[in-house]
Amino acid sequence: MELTGAQALIKSLEMQRVDVMFGLPGGAILPVYDPIIDSSIRHILVRHEQGAGHMAQGYAQVTGRPGVAMVTSGPGATNIVTPLADAYMDSTPLVVVSGQVATTAIGTDAFQESDITGITMGVTKHNWLITDPADIPRVVAEAFHVATTGRPGPVLIDMPKDVSNASMEWYWPGPGDLDLPGYRPVTVGDPALVRQAAELLLASRRPVIYAGGGILKARAAEVLRELAERTGIPVVTTLMARGSFPDSHPLCLGMPGMHGNYTAVTSMQRSDLLIALGSRFDDRVTGRVDAFAPEAKVIHVDIDPAEHHKVRRADVAIAGDCRLVIEELLVALEALGLPHSDATVGGKGGSPSDAPPGAEAVPGSPAAAHPRTGLAPWRDQVSAWQRDFPLGYHQDPTDGPLKPQFVLETLRDATPEDTIVASGVGQHQMFASQWWRFDHPYTWVNSGGLGTMGFAVPSAIGAKVGRPDKTVWAVDGDGCFQMTAQELVTASSERIPVKIAILNNAYLGMVRQWQEMFYEERYSEVYLSPDLPDYVQWAEAMGCVGLRVETPGDVAPAIDKANSVDDRPVVIDFRTDAFEKVFPMVAAGQSNDDIVVDPSLGQGGR
């Protein structure tokens, strides 16, 4: 069967079971847009290519399937560089197809030419410039394979216009036809190392599981829970891992790091063993590296061996898929005498193996879920921190400014518990991570590593496209919203009913917070205005329902109204307190021991 390169590309995407793609056409990609008319793939026309990339990310983060975006050459391609960089940092599988000028014009500074494979080399897992139409099916198959296996990540396929127009004989490559001699991702952990890890784990007295985004990438939330429950080890979930272990679980300590809660931060600092699972010792988690968890040995499980010893030298470094390695670890622990799962899962009916007489665990408590009473003093210490240093804020119920935390708590309680929350980057992101209760995996969509402002609106749209059955809320800041709000036009025209809560404090809030705390309240270029633009009018102009909330009493009714709309997007402009800061906080470059808790709680930090 003879096809054009363009037809072969679309057919190849169909062969990869792509059901939706996000994009915006232009000159060099024109030939590829023609067969889309006849394709089973739904194409969502964005208003800016950055939106297409973030939508594909949101789609990928909630479905686990690769997000697909298509753009034209030159500015179309450069506009999607930010989402590629974002996906690369957060290991999100993305396949981006960019148009390119004809092969004969490459290198001549042709109209809308840019060297996008060169530009994106450092922000993609790999990229391809196709020069022969016969390569198209093979390259597409390779691209999806590379994007989704090993440590997932974004890839880019650059399609010159003459390659799209040329004809080729259709074929579909088998697994053996991929030409990737240098790509052999690991999956299973080395048994000897897994055994060493099991021994370290059983010898520890103050262990913490440090769960990262790799848990979600590896679909390992269930085995993580089994590991935690059977060993009784508390779990911190990084910003990228929120939802990978239920916040309501007694062993869950929540988010560590610069704005992590006191217990999560301090239990890592005092730990004698960090079990890092798919986490990468990011500077926002470790604070000053030489002061981070000084007494802890480290087990580091990561599918990317380059993460091992990069920031912190591990005592046992296991290269492998988190789900498979945790399964292996459970087997190794059993071999070393950890009681069988039947006795302990969920803490029901478990008879503590090394429990002293009379040490009956309270059902539902961390200890109940765990037979190793040697950890009881540690869990008691952790519980004491949780009791003494909770997250806090003060909302005057009748008067006074609206607190962002209050908005989030009200929103959390008024939405289904498996609601997907997307966020931008800044104070609102930290508030959302702190105050939401993530009890399900794949319900938190955010830009962690790159910290891309404007991520929330498009990623929420992509998430809703991927999971139309779920309620999707974007928690956004006013600064972020202004960066990508135009995609609400996309959402309105495509009938994608996302809901946006703007925590509008009229400032670039996180920068303002730093200027207040570290620059002697010299506020430089952070004021935005609460009502320029008028967010309600803007929302309505984009085909959304627009609402404004200024007092605590109006929060719940507005959210209820938003939840009742399901035929178009809703935007709520919450006018929040500009003076509210994110606490706890570990200042940049400081030790995690110097965590500062909310001064309003009266504890004054440490």
């Binding site: 060169g118 080399m121 090993g150 990737l180 240098g182 991702p185 690991v186 990317d304 380059a306 290269a319």
Partner: protein, 188 residues
Amino acid sequence: MTVYGTDKRHHTLSVLVENKAGVLSRVAGLFSRRGYNIFSLAVAPSDDPRFSRITIVVDVASAPLEQIVQQLHKLIPVVSITQLPPESSKERELILATVGVGPETRGQVIQLVGVFEGKIIDVGHDRLTVMLAGDPAKVDDFEELLRPYGIVELQRTGRVALPKLTRTEPPSGRVLGFSSAHDTEKAG
């Protein structure tokens, strides 16, 4: 990580890569964006036309060698990486130098080239272009001894290297000449 040789900062990596457009740029880009320093770099096709061999001497003062190796491994076109410590590899480098010579120094330079078993490859009225291939230390010595005569132009190729052959064990089957003990299996 092994620290070896007289110069502990420089480690030689022999990197087998797919012979495709842009691969050198990917390797060089990785070094620049991660802040790793390259001391020297030599690229040429290997015995298999599908692959090229890049011999990189890296400066490990800029980053731990294992980080550099693991990051290189992540590049999709990198097929294998062989670490080549001097004590178990054969390293060679080539130098071309044009030296200014007068009536009384011409003979001295020719003699020096003879002692080092180099070659004179071009002769001018007041200049000689000389060549030497040898292990890097020898090339260093040669360059140093040439310097007083006045080096007009100089070009060194950077090192290339192969694992030293062992005579105590029977020959083992080698895939692409790359199954030595120093091979790093690619992962991730």
